[in-house]
């Protein structure tokens, strides 16, 4: 979806046409709604007779999502365009910077994959330094130093002061 987003955002200022990516969102809603309905259909009746069965609300929500997906597709075809969110730090005249978003997501995914092995004291520093570098802070010595200080500091603060034993991971026995 991100590539279409990019193409579209690139063209946007020049061609105020249909936002094709929005069909993707409509499809997502219909699919999500469809899955909610499927999941609801798999549920059994509750063990005691009761008027509100476990699948009652899911059928309403799932049906609603499918309907909204269809409505959005129709609206898109008729020229409905989203207003992407603006903000102080946001420049919508540029296209979507897929590389930066991708790298930032990779930093977060790296944290998810490594945290059990390396522990927060290391991956926390990686999150900070990685995110700061991706977002344009080129002084990576400082990035890493600040990151290590934050992650090791927060680890000790949680472990010693709050009594919340965040796993030390590979540094178990060292910290």
């Amino acid at each position: 979806m991100s590539t279409t987003t990019e193409e579209l955002a690139d063209k946007r200022p020049l061609h105020p046409l249909i936002d094709k990516a929005q069909y993707g969102l409509a499809a997502f809603l219909a699919l999500a709604g469809g899955y909610v309905l499927y999941d609801a259909a798999m549920l059994d009746d509750a063990f005691a007779d009761q008027p509100v069965q476990p699948y009652t609300l899911p059928f309403i929500v799932g049906g609603g999502l499918v309907l909204l997906g269809i409505l959005l597709a129709v609206a898109t075809a008729r020229g409905d365009r989203p207003e992407a969110e603006e903000g102080e730090d946001i420049d919508l005249t540029q296209g979507t910077d897929v590389r930066t978003v991708g790298l930032l997501a990779l930093v977060l995914i790296g944290n998810i994959l490594l945290i059990d092995w390396l522990g927060w004291a290391i991956t926390g520093a990686f999150v900070f330094a990685g995110a700061a570098t991706v977002l344009g802070s080129r002084n990576w010595v400082r990035n890493i130093t600040v990151g290590v200080a934050l992650s090791v500091g927060s680890w000790y603060a949680f472990y010693v002061l709050l009594g919340v034993p965040i796993p030390a991971g590979i540094l178990d026995g060292v910290l």
């Binding site: 909610v36 005691a48 609603g64 008729r78 020229g79 897929v98 978003v101 930032l104 977060l108 945290i115």
Partner: protein, 510 residues
């Protein structure tokens, strides 16, 4: 009155004042962290406090409780990462204000609003606690269901300019709210026991606000040199005061009764307050871009609700929030018989607690108000560090609850949803409200109909329910009348402006 003076005498001894100060500082510190809240802090401190006297411990607990509320809103405003579920709504306008260089004002209106609400609520607590206890237990599921439906009804006030997108957000939120095994069967858990308890609202909020925002900013970071966010005026000006005081009072009016209701919930009054301020504001166009009323009201509501929680706790020994439950355990640990007789048996303790609430509230104002401009300067650090810090902080909060990489994956997944919602202009607030309201409505409806064995008339069998439905009917009529007079110009093309979209369609065909 003598009892109250005695209470203050207990709360104001140098030793207890010290405990109160430790409490508010500790509370603020943990309130700041998403994932760790006042309830957890109290529980962790419980073994430690048994070595000090009961009154000192209770006074410190009061400080932690109120401090947590302040800390939660500080990060909501500055970093867009709400620390507590009751400060989720604050982030919506508060962070926008901060980005516009009005962080000091947002923090100040939050602090003063919390103080005003906390003070009024504490006075109300002194006055009404002995009387309302018996009323509170007469409310059953039908009444709660009616209140939840009222809240759902108020969602229409926050759907945003495109009703279609508002409903998309609401239904996505309701779908997220379905996750879990609350009905006895696993729904939308993909067979994963880690999803059995559903997805915590704080995780949803932090992911949507903080992670979604960071990804969105990464995609569209201004490449020209960034201007540093102006710190602006350090204090609230006359206009800010004028626009804040009514929301403070209205927020208190929402918060206190909801806090006193055993199944009210701390989030609901903040959201009702927000919806009300948006409807009543003379500057509705500022909502979504940093309207001070949207901070003042919900903040007052959450503090008033915190005080309201103590009504059933003190009068009946009924804990209505996790924090209150731990305070109850603490009281029992000191050998006090909690329940309806607590106020008669130990008036000194109860009044010391009430006095210390007031003291804690005052301390928090004294500490936080001068801090507001200092905190605001935090935003001057370079953008890459600001957003890296937010990501670091959000990850730490999500991880510290269960030490599970899965929670971080969930954070990223919902963060990605937040990114696409920004891309497609889908408002975040209705989703949050869907997550909060969906499970509550289902639970109350199920309980009500189970008790009545399917007899639907039970739903309007309680006076409170009847009154609430009547209010909703009146509001509907009022909306129909005003709506007919001035049609809103900014509706979605699908629903209101087929003419425009036809023009666009021709454009496409060309």
């Amino acid at each position: 009155m003598d009892l109250l003076l005695d209470g203050f005498a207990t709360a104001l001894t140098p030793e207890n004042l010290l405990f109160a100060t430790i409490g508010v500082l500790l509370g603020t510190a943990v309130g700041v962290l998403p994932g760790i809240g006042p309830a957890m802090t109290l529980a962790l401190l419980l073994p430690v406090t048994y070595s000090v006297g009961a009154d000192s411990a209770i006074i410190m607990f009061a400080g932690i409780y109120y401090g947590g509320m302040y800390g939660g809103s500080t990060t909501s405003i500055l970093l867009n990462t709400p620390g507590e579920s009751s400060s989720v709504i604050t982030a919506i306008e508060g962070n926008k204000m901060a980005k516009a260089g009005r962080a000091s004002q947002a923090l100040a209106t939050a602090a003063i609003g919390s103080f005003v609400a906390g003070t009024i609520a504490t006075v109300l607590l002194w006055v009404v606690t002995p009387f309302v206890a018996d009323v509170v237990v007469t409310l059953g599921s039908p009444s709660y269901l009616a209140l939840m439906l009222l809240a759902l009804f108020a969602v229409t006030a926050v759907l945003g300019s495109s009703k279609l997108r508002g409903f998309i957000a609401l239904f996505l939120g309701l779908a997220v709210g379905l996750v879990g095994t609350s009905t006895g069967q696993a729904r939308l858990t993909f067979g994963n026991p880690l999803l059995a308890d559903g997805i915590d609202i704080v995780v949803v909020a932090v992911a949507l606000f903080a992670i979604g925002e960071a990804l969105w900013v990464a995609a569209h970071l201004r490449h020209k040199p960034l201007e540093i966010i102006p710190v602006g005026q350090p204090w609230m000006n006359k206009e800010d005061w004028r626009r804040s005081w009514k929301p403070w009072l209205r927020g208190t009016a929402f918060g206190f009764p909801f806090g006193a209701l055993p199944a009210g919930g701390a989030e609901l009054p903040t959201f009702l307050s927000y919806a009300t301020e948006k409807k009543l504001s003379r500057h509705p166009e500022e909502f979504g871009h940093g309207a001070i009323e949207g901070v003042a009201g919900p903040e007052a509501a959450n503090n008033a609700s915190a005080a309201g929680t103590l009504v059933p706790l003190l009068a009946l020994g009924l804990p209505t929030t996790a924090t209150a439950a731990i305070m109850l355990v603490a009281l029992q640990g000191y050998g006090f018989q909690t329940g309806p007789t607590l106020m008669d048996d130990h008036p000194d303790l109860v009044w010391a607690l009430l006095a210390s609430l007031f003291v804690a509230n005052t301390l928090l104002l004294i500490i936080n108000l001068p801090m507001a401009p200092l905190w605001a300067k935090l935003l001057r650090i370079p953008r890459p560090y600001l957003y890296a810090g937010i990501l670091f902080f959000a990850s730490l909060g999500a991880y510290s609850v269960n030490f599970q990489a899965f929670d971080l994956a969930l954070l990223l997944a919902i963060g990605a949803l937040g990114f696409f919602m920004r891309r497609f202009g889908i408002p975040v607030l209705p989703l949050i409200i869907g997550v909060i309201l969906g499970p509550k409505i289902e639970e109350q409806l199920t309980t009500a109909l189970k008790i009545s064995q399917g007899d639907v008339s039970t739903l309007w069998s309680e006076p409170v329910a009847v009154v609430v439905y009547a209010v909703m009917a009146l509001l509907l009529v009022a909306m129909a009348v005003t709506g007919a007079r001035k049609p809103s110009p900014s509706e979605s093309p699908l629903l209101d402006a087929p003419g425009d979209s036809n023009d666009n369609k021709e454009l496409v065909e060309r």
